[in-house]
Amino acid sequence: MGRSYIVEEAVEKYLCELQTPPGSCVTGLLVGQSSPQRDFVVLAVQTPHRESEGPAKASTRGSPLDDIDVEWVTEHARQVSRMLPGGLSILGLFLVTPPELSKDAQNTLKRLIFAVDKYITKGRLWELTEEDVTDRVTLHICSNTKKAVCRTFDVKDPKSSAKPADWKYQTSVLSSWPMLTCSVELDVHIPVTESASNSTEKCIQDGLRKWAKQIEAGHCLINGKRAFDDSEFISGQKKNPKITQRQTLPARILVSEEQPEVDERSSAQIQVCNVSARVQGVVHCRAYIHNNKPKARHAAQAIKRDIINTVSCRVEMFLEDLLISEGRQKGPCSGRQALPRRVFVPAPCSGLSLCDYMFPDESTGDVAERLKEMLDWDTPETDIDITLETNHLFCSEGIDSHGDSSKHFTSEVGTPKIQKAPQYYAGVAVAAAVALLATATSLLYFNE
């Protein structure tokens, strides 16, 4: 008995309208939600053309299947998966080939799906549970006949063979899915001791992992009730197809600071570190839950995973950006730096919202450009919602703090003011502010 995929009609339209240059192949991602009984596909996104590739390269090599840039496909998958709110993930891939390549298509798809899954789960701070569905779907479409063949592979098992699966189109799959939202405050202290085996990134990841475990173990309240068991979490919702309004349900998360795996010590744990990092602020989180008798604890799991993902994601992006711009030698520099903030974007056709991360020096125009590149969406800049996480004052230039740094861990966060003037420092004690201001001004003129 294979899996069955309920697919949004808009996806069918998208796949049919794909332009495939004759003789070549097109790859893309399938986005949706898995549940133990069935799976839902709500979005398809073609892998964008890589600009660096020259046009002449393709013809001299073997089959166009070999030309598929696996690295690029997986990188695109990773970028897109960062744009997905909770509950949604990359469920699989599609591949359009000319008829003569159809029989080799399965192998390619298998290779790709394993590579994609491996790449996008790197750096994930939560573990899959036994109930998580590890089947991923591969859809092969013949460019001539437009016939689609649907198979699944179990990415947990490298020797997995293709299993047949059902692929059915339906209207308005997503439109009545409830959406959980919450804003989560975090304040995580992380010691960083760089060594040969422990890079700064790894230390920060380990520190965040502890926090992620607390979130995973936390109580989740949806609509005031604890969501921890197999009960249906939306009681009283009628399955009326006429309901087009999406229910938005606030979620509340309660955590305990207990750490059961830590042995009881009689003294404090001391770690000598040369850098200490702290991630502090509020993240806005969302999760979509399918409406086919969803269980309360799966809903709780979806929103918790979104909380964890959005934090690890933006820290990852920040460190990657640092690596690119400043090179290996430099870690994060001293002081306060704004992490990229989350913005939300409505999908052109369905009622879905995806998200993106905006760096302090970016604008909605940059976001719109990225959406076009990654998802091939034309989004008016005004549709991009940047109000859910406010723009905090940032210092993107490196600012070394000399002198008295005991003020670094002041608990207040400055009042949000949407100003981009880099010289305005909110929330820093006056004495330190004067020193910082002087240092900052001088550094602005002397690039490190």
């Binding site: 804003s183 936390g218 600071e257 750490q259 003294s267 509020v282 806005h284 001293s334 306060r336 730096q337």
Partner: protein, 464 residues
């Protein structure tokens, strides 16, 4: 077993507060520590504090004008109202047949845990990364918060929660004091709360002791507290072993405690009961995988007495095994080296010697030339239980037993002996032990009327 008589509910809130700070040579450690505690104080005072009631679905936000997860629990509810939401935890059912005349076994304990809500934040500023580049000690310590409150069931629940929050704040302040006092450089000791049932009007009190520091090094702290609470200066009241035992806390070592409390007293006119004071463990044949059937009875009685001294706070040493007892006797020269590892019996004198060698405890020896004379020892025995209150080891004939008390009428001279029998070879089944009389009241005919007996009466020594 001690418990509070007046109040019918004890609220107990436990949880971990993570203490995190950065210490280095340049900053003032005490100042940083204090600031960190201040931060924790704010956290506990914030509206994100949540109490969850164990074994129930009840959640309470005490600082958010008393919100609760149950519509029927509001700020006008009483403490008693909360009991009906709690599912009884039946994992340890206390099987006891002879409790008919006992009142309910003690106050209801409502266990709560500390949680913090991370949603509903005060602001919505997106996260920043704060980095400090300097060699520092990153210090992290989980603070084991544990506050208790005795209430009666008709008191206001909202008020009780406010008092609990206040107790948490005070506990943080007490912990801060202990952490700062015991600090050595960057090394901080975990402050641990202990609860003590002190005589009224003080009642249930919590003291913070630094982890890893043995009781022997905390003498000065205890002296001050004994003065403060007007406690007697000659017996331990505030050692860790004296900590209040909650009715729902099982002993992890598996030994039964005070099986005698489940007995009905004997029915003799004008008799008063003179019983052992405090807590002892029942040690008997075949325990600890030692097959001492037929020779170990006096050893077991000695173990019971040892356990008494340990649990009343007179000693931190573990209850000795048979071989450790034998080694002690060899060490003091009472026995030849070949005694070690043998199955030889011991008597009252050996018990006295071991108690003295290992614990510094002196004992009085009482001798009767005939078992029949024990019936006339009512006054001495009752005096012993009144002043010392320690279990008595009695050896004679070919048997050793432990006397836990007497029921004695000064007028008629009638006497019964409360006996704890070390010859029991079964498991820790209270029902059997009581029903079959392994712990029970015996008359004077219990003793071999013609044999002589020696009794070892251990004496308390002055300490706090």
């Amino acid at each position: 077993m001690v418990h509070s008589e007046d109040c019918s509910i004890i609220f107990r809130i436990k949880g971990i507060l993570e203490f995190v700070c950065l210490l280095d040579d340049s900053n003032d450690a005490q100042c940083t520590i204090s600031k960190t505690f201040q931060g924790l104080n704010s956290k506990v005072s914030s509206k994100n504090l949540v109490f969850t009631v164990s074994n129930s679905a009840v959640l309470i936000w005490p600082n958010n004008t008393f919100q609760s997860s149950m519509d029927s629990l509001t700020d006008t509810s009483t403490c008693g109202d909360i009991l009906k939401y709690i599912e009884a935890d039946n994992s340890e059912s206390k099987k006891s047949s002879k409790k008919k005349d006992r009142k309910n076994s003690g106050p209801n304990v409502v266990n709560m845990k500390l949680l913090f809500e991370v949603t509903e934040p005060a602001g919505n500023g997106a996260p920043n990364l704060y980095t400090v580049i300097r060699q520092q000690h990153f210090v992290r310590m989980p603070l084991p918060m544990d506050c208790i409150l005795s209430v009666t069931s008709n008191e206001s629940l909202a008020n009780a929660c406010n008092v609990l929050v206040e107790s948490l704040r005070k506990q943080l302040s007490d912990m801060e004091e202990v952490v700062i006092r015991c600090r050595k450089g960057s090394s901080l000791l975990v402050p641990q709360p202990f609860h003590f049932q002190l005589p009224e009007p003080t009642g249930l009190t919590t003291v913070i002791y630094p982890a890893g520091v043995p009781d022997s090094q905390l003498q000065g702290v205890r002296e001050d507290l004994h003065k403060k609470f007007e406690l007697p200066g000659d017996r331990p009241c505030l050692r860790r072993a004296n900590a209040f035992r909650f009715p729902d806390e099982a002993y992890k070592d598996g030994y039964l405690r005070n099986p005698h409390v489940h007995l009905n007293p004997p029915n003799i006119d004008n008799a008063k009961l003179y019983l052992v004071q405090g807590v002892y463990s029942y040690h008997h044949y075949m325990q600890d995988r030692v097959n001492d059937d037929g020779w170990g009875c006096a050893y077991r009685s000695l173990q019971t007495i040892f356990s008494w001294f340990r649990q009343q706070g007179y000693a931190e040493m573990a209850v000795p095994t048979h071989t450790q007892i034998q080694q002690a006797l060899v060490d003091v020269g009472d026995k030849e080296p070949n005694f070690f590892g043998s199955r030889q019996w011991i008597g009252s004198f050996e018990v006295q010697a071991v108690l003295n060698h290992l614990l510094g405890v002196t004992s009085k020896i009482m001798f009767v030339s005939h078992g029949s004379e024990l019936a006339s020892k009512g006054r001495e025995l009752s005096n012993h239980f009144q002043t010392e209150g320690t279990p008595i080891m009695i050896g004679g004939g070919v048997l050793a037993h432990t006397i836990l008390g007497v029921a004695w009428s000064e007028i008629t001279g009638q006497i019964r002996f409360l006996i704890l029998d070390p010859h029991y070879t079964g498991g820790e089944d209270l029902q059997i032990i009581i029903d079959k009389g392994w712990c029970g009241w015996k008359g004077p005919e219990f003793w071999d009327q013609n044999a002589y007996y020696n009794l070892c009466l251990p004496q308390r020594f002055k300490t706090i």
